[in-house]
């Protein structure tokens, strides 16, 4: 059994190798070359609107820039802009910490909420299309000024549900650092939920791609709906979860409602001493690094975590490998021993066959 399997695998490998050889023929290579023609707009765009501004922005961040009638006046500053922002700016650090805590809190809420809604919409219910239209509606109209207007008029929270009791309780139990963002979150619950339109659809399409027969097999083995969710649905949705988390972080950090973005623009056009383009560029760099770090953190958290099944499979594979190695070791030793005994017999040291058998 083992032998035949190995053979086929090797054959497959050989076949793949041969196919690879076939594919990378002259025609394909000439084809590949033509890909650059299609990429030309992007190459130019990336150079002009990505690489050039990135390098420039870093250069700006190291300078103080004054705008004079003659043009822009650069004075090399080193890292003074950065240290100024960190040590002297009254707003930036406060806003950044606010942004970090609120994002770290709201991202899991948005993703879990989207997952729950998607699970419900994936059931056999009537009016599925209608509900999808409703849950997707905010994606169309969500924009900074509109959210600002709605929040200003108090439409962001439901007046029928009194949140004060809840927020009071929260602030009495938790330290102030945590209590404030959490009660903010409850006060702006609708706005938080409004951010989950695209995520719901992404989860839905992920759910529809899961093989139905898996659920049937689990049912036959006596798995309950609860177990099915944890052992089939969730592991299958893992890539979607990562995608949604990244999407949510990017969306909330590029949103007009985010105060840091406003801060950057304000200091860009501010005439105050020490402010200006250079200061704003340094701010933008720090902000971007924080956003990238956060995306990286979430990606790391979600990518390394393996579910129980995968762990078991890995352990079993490892054990099998170890066993195979041991078996090979014993075999090799046997061969060696046999050779030695043969040699000794030839030299006439051992005469009877029975003693050699005992040696094994």
């Amino acid at each position: 059994m083992e032998e035949t399997k190995k053979m086929t695998r090797e054959e497959k490998k050989a076949l793949k190798e041969r196919l690879k050889h076939l594919q990378s023929g002259k025609l394909e290579k000439r084809d590949a070359h033509k890909g650059y023609f299609f990429m030309i707009p992007w190459f130019i765009g990336a150079a002009v609107f990505l690489a050039y501004p990135l390098i420039n922005s870093f250069w700006y961040a190291l300078n103080q820039i004054k705008i004079t009638p003659m043009g822009r006046d650069f004075t090399y500053y080193g890292f003074k802009n950065f240290t100024d922002i960190l040590l002297q700016d009254p707003d930036f650090i406060v806003q950044l910490v606010d942004y970090l805590t609120s994002t770290l809190l709201s991202v899991p809420i948005i993703v879990v909420f989207a997952l729950i809604i998607a699970l419900m919409l994936n059931m056999k219910i009537k009016g599925k299309g209608f509900f999808r239209v409703i849950f997707f509606l905010p994606v169309i109209i969500v924009s900074g000024p509109i959210l600002g207007q709605l929040n200003a008029e108090g439409a962001g929270s439901i007046s029928a549900i009194d949140m004060t009791a809840l927020t009071n309780n929260i602030s009495s139990v938790l330290p102030k650092m945590l209590a404030e963002p959490i009660s903010d979150l409850f006060n702006n619950m609708i706005m938080t939920l409004w951010y989950s339109g695209v995520q719901i659809l992404i989860f839905l399409s992920g759910l529809q791609k899961i093989d139905k027969s898996m659920y049937e097999a689990a049912k036959i083995d006596g798995g309950s709906g609860w177990e099915c969710f944890w052992k089939i649905t969730l592991p299958n949705l893992k890539p979607m979860i990562l995608l949604n988390v990244v999407y949510t972080v990017v969306f909330t950090s590029n949103n007009d409602q985010n105060p840091i973005i406003g801060l950057i623009e304000d200091s860009m056009f501010s005439g105050a001493p020490g402010r200006g383009y250079g200061y704003a560029a340094a701010m933008a760099w720090m902000y971007s690094i924080v956003v990238l770090l956060m995306v990286g953190l979430f990606a790391l958290l979600l990518m390394t975590r393996k579910d129980a099944y995968e762990k078991q499979v890995k352990r079993a594979k490892k054990a099998a490998k170890r066993e195979a190695r041991n078996r090979k070791k014993i075999e090799r030793r046997n061969v060696r021993n046999a050779k030695r005994i043969d040699r000794q017999r030839k030299q006439g040291k051992i005469t009877s066959r029975t003693t050699s058998r005992e040696d094994y």
Binding site: G35, F38, I141, G148, K209, S253, A284, V291
Partner: protein
């Protein structure tokens, strides 16, 4: 969950109840906005009136529309959202096809950079880009949006490139090879074979690009509208952002004699309603395309 057998009655009931409740919470702000926008000042002050105004009061809409310069702003919004969208469609489809069809050297790096640009906040490149535009003398003109869009660097362009890439990958290679045997060149096989089969991707990208450009206030304000409001371009969303100022200047010019009240909640809600109304109409006409687009194009990334 996902199984074919029937769920219990209680469970069904629970699911419906939850969906309806959450659905209501979802559209609550919009309902609030609609109801408030029709209220007269008396209705606003009357605490017994909460949801249904005593009479349909269209004066709010008239005043809000006049102060926002509605028709002109609407036209400009459509141009500002529409033209870059067309550029996006052209450039992103070409780049997406290039990535999907050819295995050139450095393709992996290109994909990596595209994903990185999606994650990177636009603020980091904003200031030098602003300077660049002002050097090129295209600041406060529509070119500030067209130029990046035509070079596949517009707003959210990485997502659109990935959508097209995903879609063109699904087209069987045999089709394109067959066209080549029939004597089509590379570009011919692109626009005669690949493009017609990518209609759903075009609809998705077109809709989303339009909506995102329409709703973008920050970059539009910076590049096209002008921070000091010194260009002739404006959009509904930006008019809404400066609604209070616009309204007070409108009130002063038309004079209190014409019966224009000071800004109140109803008028600002009417203004908000006016600025999302075009998109709402678009959504209800094309809702099927919107909602199914994500399924079909699979942004979900395998």
């Amino acid at each position: 969950m996902g199984t074919k057998d029937k769920e219990g009655f209680l469970k069904q009931f629970l699911v419906y109840a939850l969906l309806i409740c959450i659905g209501f919470i979802y559209i609550y702000p919009i309902l609030h906005m609609v109801s408030a926008s029709f209220m007269s000042l008396d209705d606003l002050l009357d605490s017994s009136i909460k949801w249904i105004p005593s009479s349909m009061n269209f004066a709010n809409y008239k005043q809000a529309a006049a102060s926002m310069n509605f028709w002109m702003s609407l036209l400009q919004s459509i141009i500002i959202a529409g033209v870059p969208t067309l550029c996006n469609l052209v450039s992103c489809s070409i780049v997406g096809y290039g990535l999907a069809r050819f295995n050139f050297k450095g393709k992996g790096i290109c994909m990596g950079i595209i994903i990185l640009t999606f994650v990177l906040p636009s603020q980091i490149t904003m200031i030098p880009t602003y300077v660049l535009y002002s050097n090129l003398k295209i600041l406060n003109t529509l070119w500030a949006f067209i130029l990046p869009a035509i070079l596949a660097q517009g707003i959210n362009a990485p997502i659109f490139i990935l959508i097209f890439w995903q879609f063109f990958r699904q087209i069987p290679k045999v089709l394109i090879e067959a066209s080549k045997i029939d004597g089509a060149g590379y570009f011919e096989s692109f626009y005669k074979v690949a493009l017609p089969s990518a209609k759903p991707a075009f609809i998705t990208v077109g809709l989303f690009s339009f909506v995102w450009y329409w709703n973008e206030a920050y970059l539009t304000n910076l590049y096209v509208h002008g921070v000091y409001g010194d260009s002739k371009w404006t959009t509904l969303v930006i008019q809404l952002q400066n609604f209070a100022d616009n309204f007070s200047s409108y009130q002063q010019t038309s004079g209190a004699a014409a019966g224009v009240p000071t800004l109140n909640e109803s008028i600002s809600m009417a203004g908000t309603m006016l600025s999302i109304l075009p998109l709402l109409l678009l959504y209800f006409v094309l809702q099927k395309q919107f909602v199914e687009s994500i399924d079909r194009t699979g942004i979900t990334g395998e």
